[in-house]
């Protein structure tokens, strides 16, 4: 059987098939990445491989070697890892290893953070139209998918959230810009932080702050609202 040899020879002959040093570098890189369960950074590989070797070319060659195999070499934000081929999922899948199920709310928050990052909590709540319940962000951070990124340079300096490399690894993405449908959403203007002009819609309230909400209310509405007690919150 020939599957190991097929794809790589093309690349290697072009560039450095005759160079035993390049071949050795490939073997070393392969072993280094293979040994680790975690993605290995290109910086680390550069340090470990013989000096002067084109690491990018080494990795491209290796990736090519594995395209048809049962294991793939994948790149995640400048880090490399071996992963089983996705099409073999059926053969490997086992229910015991099923990752923890996320609540709908947590999943929604995760998607918003992924597509809108860096995003503040207020923006997440604006998009969802509800307050984020305690525990939702916590769960995502504990899973290692979401992290504090920094602070927005606006008054109040709100903290922003973003996704992690583990997030990309988990969902099989090389980079954030590989998120499914990202470009279309951006093109449709659905990812801009800015609202259309004159945007004005009630934002989620903390329970008792009925009166705080503002202009569009008519006197009649206010009277009606006063008659009704605020009920419980709807979050998860």
């Amino acid at each position: 059987m020939t599957m190991a040899e097929t794809p790589d020879m093309v690349d290697v002959t072009e560039t450095s098939a005759d160079d035993p040093r390049f071949f050795e570098a490939c073997r070393m890189a392969e072993a280094l990445v293979f040994a680790s369960a975690q993605p290995v950074s290109e910086t680390f590989l550069t340090e470990r491989l013989p000096r002067g070797v084109d690491v990018a070319l080494v990795m491209a060659t290796l990736r090519n070697d594995y395209t048809a195999r049962g294991i793939h070499l994948v790149r995640i934000e400048g880090h490399w890892a071996f992963r089983t081929a996705p099409d073999l999922s059926f053969a490997l899948r086992s229910d015991e290893r099923e990752p923890k199920k996320l609540s709908r709310a947590a999943l929604e928050v995760l998607a918003i953070i992924a597509y809108h990052q860096p995003v503040t909590r207020a923006e997440i709540e604006d998009i969802r139209g509800v307050q984020t319940s305690r525990g939702t962000l916590d769960v995502l951070m504990e899973a290692g998918w979401v992290r504090f990124r920094g602070r927005r340079r606006t008054p109040g300096r709100p903290v922003t959230f973003g996704t992690t490399r583990d997030f990309l690894d988990h969902f099989g993405l090389e980079e954030v810009r590989d998120l499914p449908g990202l470009e279309e959403l951006r093109g449709a203007g659905l990812l801009t932080g800015r609202m259309p002009p004159n945007f004005n819609i009630p934002s989620p309230l903390s329970d008792d702050e009925l009166t705080e909400d503002e202009d569009p209310l008519t006197q009649l509405d206010l009277e009606e609202l006063g008659l009704l007690t605020p009920g419980g919150k709807e979050e998860e």
Partner: protein, 278 residues
């Protein structure tokens, strides 16, 4: 809703499916908002029942649907969360702006602009829902795709010999501060006035006064915290009974729940040397 009918819980979806066929006036509609994550979620659900592309929904019809829903909820006295009602008010306003076109005034959005904004928000929420679904159905590590099962732990790549994430750090800090805060609360709560303390206080009072003084007013000088007042009054009253028995003070109250007055008793002199009793 028909009288005497017992409201049972039914998903809202039923409500609107039924409406599409039977008209809104149909009685006995049962409402359940438990499945919805706030008014925007509900609105998105209602918009979907229009069965058109979100960019072509009728915001006016949507506003009416929502308002009808809130009306019905009120009719059967369902307590709606405040944000549902705020949304209702906003939609009522939007509806009026859409029905009675006004000259755009400075800074005030037109009805169309408001409608567009709402449609935008619904579209954005739906887009994120779809994105979440796509994400969760990808080939996921640990479910569809697997890492090396027996890593050899050789290429450990760490600049630092120690491992900790920001999450670890913040969790530790939050837990610590919380732990300490709880301890503090316990200490703070220990503010119960003992009989001894109350007696000392009363003794001091007796030294300062010569005639009837309202206990409340006197104590108010010491109890800045209203929560403390209660225990102070209770202890002071108990202590005052004892002191009255010893004839160190006299107590007077004109009626139930009226202020309690005190003045030095015959033996008040025993209490405080430095002051002049009576």
């Amino acid at each position: 809703m028909a009288e005497g009918q017992k409201p049972a819980s039914a998903p809202l979806e039923k409500l609107w499916d039924a409406d599409a066929e039977r008209g809104v006036s149909e009685p006995a509609l049962l409402i359940d908002v438990a499945g919805f994550e706030g008014p925007l979620d509900l609105l998105l659900h209602l918009a979907r029942t229009q069965k058109v592309d979100l960019s072509r929904i009728s915001v006016l019809a949507l506003a009416e649907q929502y308002l009808t829903f809130v009306e019905q909820a009120r009719a059967i006295r369902i307590e709606l969360a405040a944000d549902y009602l705020v949304m209702a008010a906003w939609l009522a306003y939007l509806k009026s702006r859409l029905l009675i076109p006004q000259q755009p005034k400075d800074g005030e959005p037109t009805g169309e602009e408001m409608a567009q904004s709402l449609a935008f928000r619904l579209k954005r929420l739906e887009a994120m829902r779809n994105a979440a679904e796509k994400l969760v159905n990808r080939d996921r590590l640990g479910r569809d795709v697997f890492p090396r099962g027996a890593p050899e732990l050789i290429p450990v790549e760490r600049r630092s010999a120690f491992e900790a994430s920001l999450y670890d750090l913040l969790t530790a800090y939050a837990a610590l501060r919380q732990r300490q805060a709880v301890t503090n609360v316990v200490i703070a709560r220990r503010k119960v006035w003992s009989l001894v303390e109350a007696r000392t206080l009363l003794s001091r009072m007796v030294g300062e006064i010569s005639d009837w003084v309202s206990l409340d007013i006197y104590l108010a000088r010491y109890a800045a915290d209203p929560q403390e007042r209660r225990t102070m009054i209770a202890s002071a009253f108990a202590a005052s009974l004892e002191m009255a028995r010893e004839r160190k003070i006299e107590i007077r109250q004109d009626g139930a729940f009226t202020p309690i007055f005190m003045r030095p008793g015959e033996k008040a002199a025993d209490l405080s040397e430095g002051s002049t009793p009576l």
